[in-house]
C-alpha cells in the first residue's frame, strides 16, 4: 500500500509556499498519529476558508470524534452550570455523569492526538434555552443520537484495530446516553427515528451529514472533506 505524507487539513498536495499559508490551521501536527497514514486513495479536496478540517486517515477520524466530543462536553458543562428549572436530583446526577463522560472523552482524544489534535472549538448554543427541560433534553437527544450515528458511520474507515476498539468503547456509552435521554423525555429508547423498525439496526450517518448538524451548534465550523 502506498503511504502518502498527509497534511492535517485534508490531504491536499500543497506546494511548500502554500504549506506556510496553511501552517496556522493545525497543519504543523504531522506527528506520530499522522504517520499511520491512509492507504486509501483520497480525492483532492480544497479546504474552505474559516473551517477546520479534521484531516484524513485515522488521525482524521480521531479528530472528527474529538470535535464531536468537544461539542458534547461543552453542552453538558453548560447544562450543569445552569440547570433547567426544577431539575430533580435524579436528573442532575444522571446529566452530571454524562457531562463527566463527555469531558473525559474529550480529554482522552486531546491527549491521544497530541500535536495532531485540531484546535479547541467554540460552541454556539444561542438556539438552546437552557432554562427549559424540553429544550435541553431535546438538544441532548440530538447530540447523543447524532454521536452514535457518527461513530458507527465511520467505523469501517478506521484502519488501526486499536482505534476501532476505542471508538467502539465510546460509542457504546454514547448509545447508553442516548437511551437514557429518550427515557427522560418519555419517548422510545429505540424510536424509529434512530432504529430501523424492520432490521433493528441503529442509523448511521456519514461525516458530512453529522457535521452539517453539528456545525449549527459551533462557531468554529468543522469539515471532514476526505471522508465524504
Amino acid at each position: 500500500m502506498k503511504t502518502e505524507t498527509e497534511l492535517i487539513n485534508g490531504n491536499v498536495n500543497l506546494a511548500r509556499r502554500s504549506f506556510l499559508r496553511y501552517a496556522g490551521a493545525g497543519v504543523a501536527g504531522v506527528g506520530l498519529m499522522a504517520a499511520a497514514s491512509s492507504c486509501h486513495k483520497d480525492h483532492t479536496v480544497t479546504p474552505t476558508a474559516g473551517t477546520i478540517d479534521v484531516g484524513s486517515g485515522d488521525p482524521g477520524i480521531l479528530n472528527y470524534a474529538y470535535a464531536l466530543e468537544q461539542l458534547e462536553a461543552a453542552f453538558y458543562t453548560q447544562v450543569i452550570l445552569t440547570p433547567y428549572s426544577g431539575m430533580p436530583t435524579v436528573e442532575l446526577n444522571l446529566l452530571t455523569d454524562i457531562r463527566d463522560h463527555e469531558v473525559l472523552h474529550r480529554e482522552f482524544f486531546k491527549a491521544a492526538l497530541g500535536t495532531s489534535a485540531i484546535q479547541g472549538l467554540t460552541p454556539d448554543f444561542s438556539k438552546i434555552d437552557f432554562s427549559s427541560r424540553a429544550a435541553v433534553l431535546g438538544a441532548a437527544k440530538t447530540f447523543e443520537d447524532l454521536g452514535v450515528t457518527a461513530y458507527d458511520g465511520v467505523g469501517y474507515l478506521v484502519q488501526t484495530p486499536a482505534y476501532l476498539l476505542i471508538a467502539g468503547k465510546i460509542v457504546s456509552v454514547e448509545a447508553r446516553h442516548a437511551s437514557l435521554i429518550a427515557n427522560l423525555l418519555g419517548v422510545s429508547f429505540v424510536g424509529s427515528d434512530q432504529v430501523d423498525a424492520s432490521t433493528g439496526l441503529n442509523a448511521t450517518n456519514k461525516p458530512s451529514v453529522v457535521l452539517a448538524a453539528a456545525n449549527t451548534y459551533l462557531k468554529t465550523k468543522v469539515s471532514a472533506k476526505s471522508f465524504s
Partner: protein
C-alpha cells in the same frame, strides 16, 4: 457509502471488474434507483450481489463465523424475551420489553439473511441442545431458577445479557476491520444492544428500587456494578469493566470538571469494555446453552 473508494479498491485486484458486472454508470444508476431513503439492510445486499456475481462468494468464512457468533447471541436474547413475554403475568412493562424483544427478533432475521446472502449457513435454534436461562446447564434449576416467575430476576438477567452482548460485539469488531458492509451492520446492532442495556438498567432503578446507573459504573475493587454477585465474570475478563487505561493513556490522570484528575467511577463508566469470544463462550456454555 464511498462508492468511488470501493470500486477503485476492487479494480486494484480485478481490473476487469467494470466489464464483469455491468458498465459502471449502470451499476451506480441501479444503486441510486433505490431512492434517497434506503433502509440500511438494502445497501449491503446490493453490493453483496455485485460481489457474488463477480466472484461467486460474498464474504470470507472468518466474516461468516463472526456473523454466526452474533446470530447465536441474538438467538439467545430473542428466545429469552419471547419466553419472558409469553410467561403469563411475568412482565409488568409489556410495551417497554416488547421494544427490546422486537429488536432482538429483527436482529435474528437480519443476521440470518446476511449470512445466507454471504453464502454461509446460519445458526438456528435446531443447532442448540438446550437453552437454560436459569443458568442450570440444561436442567432449569440454576441460580436464576425463578427467571420466568419473578420479574425482578427476569430484569436482572436481562440487564446482564444486554451488557454481555454489548461486550461481545466489541470483541468482534477487529475481525471485521475495514469491512464496510458487515462492520457497519455489527456496529449498528451493537449500538442498539447498548440502548437496551441502558434501558433495562434505567427501568430497574427508576421503577424497581435498584441502584444501577444506565452505564457500567465500576470501582477499583469491583467491576460488577449490578448487585448480582453470580455475574462477576460478565463484567470481568482480560479487560474488566473497571479498566481505566485506554490507548496507553491513564484516564485517572486526565483533568475533569472537578479538578486535575478523573475518578475511577467516571473513567470506568465512560468506556465500555470488550469480551473475547472465548470469554463469552465460557460464560454461556454450558450454563445457559450448548450445541448438539
Amino acid at each position: 457509502m464511498n462508492l468511488f473508494g470501493i470500486i477503485e479498491e476492487i479494480e486494484k485486484v480485478d481490473p476487469e471488474f467494470n466489464d464483469r458486472i455491468s458498465p459502471r454508470r449502470d451499476a451506480i444508476k441501479n444503486m441510486s434507483s433505490f431512492g434517497t431513503k434506503v433502509a440500511l439492510a438494502a445497501i449491503p445486499f446490493a453490493l453483496g450481489d455485485l460481489f457474488k456475481k463477480a466472484y461467486g462468494a460474498a464474504a470470507s468464512s472468518d466474516v461468516i463465523a463472526v456473523l454466526n457468533f452474533a446470530l447465536t447471541l441474538e438467538l439467545l436474547e430473542a428466545t429469552f424475551y419471547n419466553q419472558g413475554l409469553a410467561a403469563s403475568g411475568l412482565v409488568k412493562d409489556t410495551a417497554y420489553i416488547t421494544y427490546i424483544s422486537n429488536d432482538e427478533n429483527n436482529h435474528v432475521k437480519f443476521l440470518t439473511s446476511a449470512i445466507t446472502a454471504a453464502g454461509g449457513t446460519p445458526v438456528t435454534a435446531n443447532d442448540l441442545a438446550y437453552v437454560d436461562f436459569t443458568a442450570g446447564g440444561g436442567k432449569n434449576n440454576g441460580p436464576f431458577a425463578d427467571v420466568f416467575t419473578n420479574y425482578q430476576t427476569f430484569l436482572a438477567v436481562a440487564e446482564t445479557f444486554e451488557d454481555t452482548g454489548v461486550r461481545a460485539y466489541k470483541g468482534q469488531a477487529g475481525n471485521l476491520l475495514g469491512n464496510q458492509t458487515y462492520l457497519t451492520a455489527a456496529l449498528a446492532i451493537h449500538a442498539v444492544e447498548a440502548r437496551h442495556a441502558s434501558a433495562i438498567r434505567y427501568l430497574r432503578t427508576s421503577k424497581y428500587g435498584a441502584s444501577v446507573t444506565p452505564w457500567i459504573t465500576s470501582s477499583a475493587s469491583a467491576s460488577n456494578d449490578t448487585g448480582i454477585p453470580q455475574v462477576d465474570a460478565n463484567y470481568g475478563g482480560a479487560t474488566p469493566e473497571n479498566n481505566t487505561t485506554q490507548g496507553g493513556v491513564n484516564l485517572l490522570t486526565l483533568p475533569s470538571i472537578e479538578g486535575s484528575t478523573t475518578s475511577v467511577a467516571v473513567a470506568s463508566a465512560a468506556f465500555d469494555e470488550a469480551l473475547t469470544q472465548a470469554e463469552v463462550l465460557a460464560i454461556l456454555v454450558p450454563a445457559f446453552v450448548n450445541t448438539k
